[in-house]
Amino acid sequence: MQFVRVHLLLAAVATSFVAPGTALAASAENGKTAYVKNGCWQCHGYEGQGSVTTSAGRVIAGTPLPADAFTAYVRQPTGAMPPFSAAILPDADLADIYAYLEARPKPKASKDIPLLSGQ
């Protein structure tokens, strides 16, 4: 709950980091490169699947946050995540990363995966 509240508060701030129209021009393909180059994979996995040991189990594939809130959190995170300033990760690259995460395929339901449905 606290996580969501923080993002709502920061949403207004976030608009200043993402120029209007940036999201439209974002490229999921470029985003994959930026995602790897900037080390997002280290804690969130290459597919944004998250991990209980490195990202508190939070899943960012499919980006459950709106773009503004996502940007705000990356710039000024409230948890264990280190901040990525625009000097490290330019707005355009961040927009591409968002597009990459949005483009991740939705997972199958676990009941449709035999190795999981039986456990």
Binding site: E47, G48, V59, A109, L115, L116
Partner: protein, 657 residues
Amino acid sequence: MAKKDRSPKLDRRRFLTAAAVAGATGAVGSGKAGAANAGTTEAPARLPSALPPNAHVAAAEAGVPDIPPYASEGRPGSDFMVDVIKTLNIKYLPANPASSYRAIHESLINYGKNSMPEFLTCTHEECGVGIAHGYAKITNKPLMTLCHGTVGLMHATMNVYNAFCDRMPVIVLAGNDLDAAHRPPGVPTVHSAQDINAIVRDYTKWDDTPVSAQHFAQSFVRAYQIATTPPYAPVVLSLDDGLATEPVRDFGQKLYIPKFVPTAPPAGEAGAVREAARLLVNAERPVIVADRAVNTQRGMNFLVQLAELLQAPMVRERGRLNFPTTHYLGRPASVIAQADVVLGLELTDYWATVNKFVDNNAEGVGTITSTIKPGIKLISIGTLQLMTKANYQEFQRFQSVDVPIAGDVEATLPALIEAVKYALTDDRKNAIAQRGEAIRKDHEKGRDATRQAAAIAWDASPISTARLCAEIYAQIKDLDWSLVPSSGDVAGWPLRLWPMDKPYHWTGTSGGYGVGWGCPASVGGALANRDEGRFSVAIQSDGDLMYAPGALWTAARHKIPLLSVMHNNRGYHQEVMHVQRLSNFRNRVANLGNDLGPVGTSIMNPDIEYHKLAQSMGWWAKGPITDPAELGPAIKEAVAVVKSGQPALVNVWTQPR
């Protein structure tokens, strides 16, 4: 002048029989390890804190055994030492050979016929200790290892520290040549020390420097007794080369081997236990947190009984399995935030159980927040206060506790269960039953969420850690399996996905988090399981394997079947994240060089072909597996190899965690 022996006679054969009986029952302790293999589900009876000796033990206690006249035969001191060692029923001796203990080496394999203990050739002292540690985690019994003088004991140190932090018994003998006037000059002198035990004294429970054969006998049996009395821990004896090599001398007193009798473990004080029970019974939201609490099936059964009596959520820390993963009372640590009473069982870090530290600023100070409600009552049962050392800081931050109870958890649980039963009124029983129903529903929701989380990135390459673990389990689920002590951090997926209800299904982490423990510890665990006809599987990380890969050879050499599935994320991943973190805090772009992680943290360019490394040391091996569709068939093939008695390794490229 020799003292006259006035003690009753007991012939050697009868003495050794009695000692063997004592060892068999007690190496594990009346309250703890003695029931290691009992597997009973019966309700435990009340147990006194100290059990009376049985008839064999009582008879043996009355006498001193006759010992062959070593001196008159001119037999070496090391033969007598082997006789001493054999009374303790130590099955294996994993060690790297060395000149500083050549005398006892010769006695062990010739006079002792390389049996009880059997020498297992190791390629590094760290492997010897790690194998002993892994063995102890499965059996609760110590092995002994030998180290070569100063340099060998230095090699062993990191895994001695791991065993100390993990409260597991290992008996270390350090070869040394104390007599400066007689020891050979040159290398043997360089490898000798005035006080060799000082190298590990800060993280062993006890040490001694025997200077006579009789002194060795007393100290070896004492060392065994101390190591196997909770809290378990490593012990070290220096082994003087002169004493071992020269003919044994009795100085006019008949040599004898003290009989080992296991010590009853310390149990919590009765009044404090009653107060703990009162608080737990009257709590609205009690939570039990267990860490290094349970080593045996008996202890796990006690813990289930206590949790069910209270219908209390049970949080599992990573020291031991403690509690079945299948039980509905098993809950995540987040339940602690709502607790009004927390019972901490052998917690390595009580402070971190009720506080949260976030490493989130450039100065490294981080943010600390309490995770508990005001007015909460904290109870602890554990042995932290019973074995303290000042230098190394494994005791963690200090946490004030309302009812701190010093005692072994397994030895204290029977009394706590009885006290809880006594304190339960009908009103409380009704309230507790309602609480249990709510927890059961939460548990089911949690299981569903876990399975769905595992489905994310199911078909990804590199392979997700969830898929890795699901594929392994699919191939071993119909076997009597054991996930042996190993190093791979796979986000706890085995504990989240695999049904585990036996202590050997998972035995916890290394204790000291020293890298280089996983591979030898997995071999030690597999060694213990081999003797039980049990299938062993390890999840082996890449960085850990390269510290002490020689343990692979020991497994092949001594025909120890083990399936090692690699969690190969091609980096020192913890450090990958740390350097990225500091780069961000300092507002700098992390320098990756040509790798995926910051310079100095990746293990790539070139990639290490671990499967070929294993093959070179006599393992069946396959890899690298990068396509998740190929993983199941590869593991299936490897399982068949392991079932035939050989070790097998599957090298898998994985997601980071």
